[in-house]
């Protein structure tokens, strides 16, 4: 069977604008979720360093629940249980989920920063907040950038789960086209290519950033 028999080129052309609209929504969900995940994950990782037992118990429970339950259930919870708007529920569900994973990634990055760096900052008179801002976080982020990149790529892909609560993002748009045309391959292949383009672009951006940030490392 030839390629043209599986793929309807005309349908591909006509459905592309719709798919791109869906991709735009997917990217919005992913970008906002990444921001929530990164901010929340960083705050959690920093709070864990305070070694407050009660706080660590709460954080531990959050991470365990989030990591131990499917994201689909978490998104559904925000949508059905709290009655949030579909888009908001999706962003919150994915963002809070990401926060748990990012916190673990950042925590390992912070742990990798040598004690001597913190001591040098202290002796120079930097406050604890300044040490976090100027010394700890910049070094930790550099260390964990590949892992963070993976997390952000996962978020782009996971944004498709928003379709289950009615957000018209890329997957939902492709499903509409499939339902209308009874053609499975063309819209789904186009959707896969768009996802691949988004994740590959992000991957390249992360590699470039990693190289730039690590230019101080002797090759």
């Amino acid at each position: 069977m030839g390629f043209s028999m599986i793929i309807d080129i005309e349908l591909l052309k006509s459905s592309f604008p719709l798919l791109l609209c869906g991709a735009q929504v997917s990217l919005q969900i992913a970008a906002l979720s990444c921001m929530i995940g990164l901010c929340l994950g960083t705050i959690i990782a920093l709070l864990q360093r305070l070694n407050i037992i009660l706080l660590n118990l709460v954080i531990g429970a959050y991470v365990t629940i989030i990591r131990g339950t499917p994201m689909l259930i978490q998104i559904s919870f925000w949508y059905f249980a709290l009655g949030l708007e579909p888009f908001v529920a999706a962003v919150l569900g994915i963002g809070l989920n990401s926060g748990a994973y990012v916190s673990e990634v950042i925590r390992s990055g912070l742990a990798a920063v040598g004690k001597g760096q913190i001591e040098a900052a202290q002796v120079l008179g930097l406050s604890k907040l300044q040490t976090i801002r100027f010394i700890l976080l910049p070094q930790a982020i550099r260390t964990v950038l590949p892992a963070l990149g993976n997390e952000f790529i996962t978020i782009i892909k996971d944004s498709s789960l928003a379709s289950t609560i009615g957000v018209v993002e890329l997957y939902r748009q492709a499903s509409y086209i499939r339902g209308r045309t009874y053609d499975v391959f063309t819209p789904y292949l186009a959707m896969a290519l768009i996802y691949l383009t988004m994740t590959t672009t992000l991957s390249l951006v992360i590699s470039y950033t990693e190289r730039r940030l690590n230019r101080h490392v002797k090759s």
């Binding site: 040598g114 760096q117 002796v123 120079l124 930097l126 910049p138 070094q139 101080h216």
Partner: protein, 238 residues
Amino acid sequence: MLRVERLTKSFNNKKILDDISFDIQKGHIGLFLGSSGVGKSTLLRILNNLETYDQGSFYLDGKKLDLEHVNQTHAVGMVFQQFNLFEHVTVKENITLALINVMHKSTKEANTIATKLLKHFGLEDKADEYPSQLSGGQKQRLALARTIAMRPEVICFDEPTSALDPMLTNYVAKNIQELAHEGFTIVVATHDISLLQKLSCTIYLMHQGKIIERASSHDYKLHPDKYDLINKFIEGAE
């Protein structure tokens, strides 16, 4: 003048520093000599508020020195054994970071100070490089420049020559001596006996957390026989 009175520090019921007292005049060098684990580094770390202590009083130029806030007042600085340079910023930024954010200097002012210091230590062509691109000797000079930029009254050196070859050891000794001439009060913790010959200082020989013998380097050079314990340490080290 730096005065330390009856400093005691224990850890797990073991006395790391046992009733240590000493004075170091302004512009002078106190050389704390001893093998590993005798408490030299702990003493330096206490002076820089990196360790707590059980008992003791500290005075700088006759005024009580509050070690809890010593980092904020920049009265004491430290050049670490491993230098602890900030690897993620450039050589120049290692100096300007604290000048801008702690001393509240303008970027222009901080850059001027950094450029001057880098020139003084022969690192002006390395300003935009990263610490990982420097040699051991250059790293130490940068660590020293970063400390001096904060204008501390007391500078502590933890094992300043442990990572250096003999030629660089001479250079470091010269730098330390120059700093003393400039009026800085210097505290050096070392097990490197060659520094005894190279520095004009007061030697404090430490053993099991106590100062067991003291001598001025001048007197020691003239009358080495008077100082049995220092001689014994040197023989052991050789």
